[in-house]
Symmetry: C2
Subunit: 254 residues, 2 copies
């Protein structure tokens, strides 16, 4: 595989394009509806920036669509040539969104990407799926150039992974925000719980989360739970605290 | 300071006693109601194990109470001598639980401790409080031997930190457990989201959690939220998903 076209210029597109470029792949074009964003990424990976699908090269070896879920279908409708192989990178979008093409698949890196943050791609799980064996083999070989952590998942399994990822990333990060609000209310810096947050995540790299669970709810210590509820700054947070505590009690009763 | 008595043999007592021992302090006694547990820790730190407060040495320089919140008061009622300095290590217990003594304080390491897990104590925030300046100075000097991250907090602030710690550790760990349940339902290993969990925690070591928030709720993407709710295995998890998503939407509306 030599030439790759990247469709999109957001967080995922930026990380994948940069990593492929660093691994020696030729990124020939970056397509994005907002040309200025395409230019930023194109400059990083020595590619051309385009904002019109009709200018897209037709002889690339791979087209990687890294767009928001809601606009993938619109983009697909703009493509009138037969690409050698075309994939999307979305966790919760079915492979069939690309079924008007002959060779298609999915290349989903299960990670949270932020522009400007360096990541070790070798440990990032890459979930692949394809509509035929040749395409799957091509994606497998590509994934192996980037990562040591490759998974062959169906669209249904990938969708379930995406849900788990939302819970394990978006929800936990939201609780970091709530912890921050709680600390701010008494003039304490978020710095004080950063080491705890890191150790919480480090612990489940080895242990299961069930083994790692500590605190008043798993001990069913209703006095501490009641005290904490009184300390919370809003009725919404109080309700959320009760709800999550009850969920911990229920899960560990099983 | 030379001689230290440790009261308790649980996770916190074990980590503190071991760290003090490694730093050259003399741990003379481990007190615990269950003698066999006291013996395990005492053997590690070359101390004597006792299960009766009347056998406690009266000339130690410091007594550290690392008991469950609910039994600290009972223990205090068993002490009839005047210790040089006595502290507890509990996040949510007021310093005044020790006010029958002359010199007392709090030495609260804000971290999640699991027996058998090695931790870098240097980064662990240690929150100290004392009833007089001499005692505070002694605790400050002790804390500096263990950590580079020392905080002078009132009982009220410490209690707030403990609440934030429950949210940032117990609650996030519970969401790791829920993610695990979601993955198990489709036969997928928890391994696939371990790198994501680690990066989520790593990201907020530098960024604020508000800056780090991603996902369907912060984008108010109701379609994905509805899809996810349908994927969840129980009505309780569906409710919890809605509740947390709404909380994310509300916080980011502010």
């Amino acid at each position: 595989m030599k030439k790759i076209v990247i469709i999109g210029a957001g967080n995922v597109a930026t990380h994948i394009a940069s990593e492929l470029f660093n691994k020696g792949f030729e990124i020939c074009q970056i397509f994005n509806r907002t040309l200025s964003n395409a230019v930023v990424l194109a400059n990083k990976v020595e590619a051309d920036a385009i904002d019109d699908a009709s200018y897209m090269v037709k002889d690339a070896d791979l087209y990687i669509i890294s767009l928001s879920d809601g606009v993938i279908n619109d983009f697909v409708n703009q493509i009138y040539f037969e690409p050698k192989l075309i994939v999307h990178t979305a966790g919760s979008i079915h492979i069939n969104v690309l079924d008007k093409f002959k060779n298609y698949g999915v290349f989903y890196p299960l990670q949270t990407f932020t522009k400007g943050r360096k990541l070790n791609f070798k440990t990032i799980p890459i979930c692949i799926e394809a509509n035929n064996e040749d395409s799957k083999k091509t994606l497998q070989q590509l994934a192996e150039k980037l990562s040591n952590n490759i998974h062959d998942l169906s669209s249904e399994q990938r969708k379930q992974c995406h849900l788990a990822a939302v819970v394990a990333n978006n929800f936990t990060n939201h609780f970091y925000s709530i912890a921050n609000e709680i600390l701010k209310a008494k003039g304490i810096s978020f710095d004080i719980i950063r080491p705890l947050i890191l150790e919480t995540a480090n612990k489940v790299q080895e242990l299961s989360p069930i083994e790692s669970q500590t605190g008043p709810a798993v001990r069913n210590n209703l006095k501490v739970i009641d005290d904490h509820k009184k300390q919370l700054p809003t009725p919404e947070l109080e309700k959320l605290y009760s709800f999550v505590s009850q969920s911990i009690i229920d899960l560990h009763k099983k």
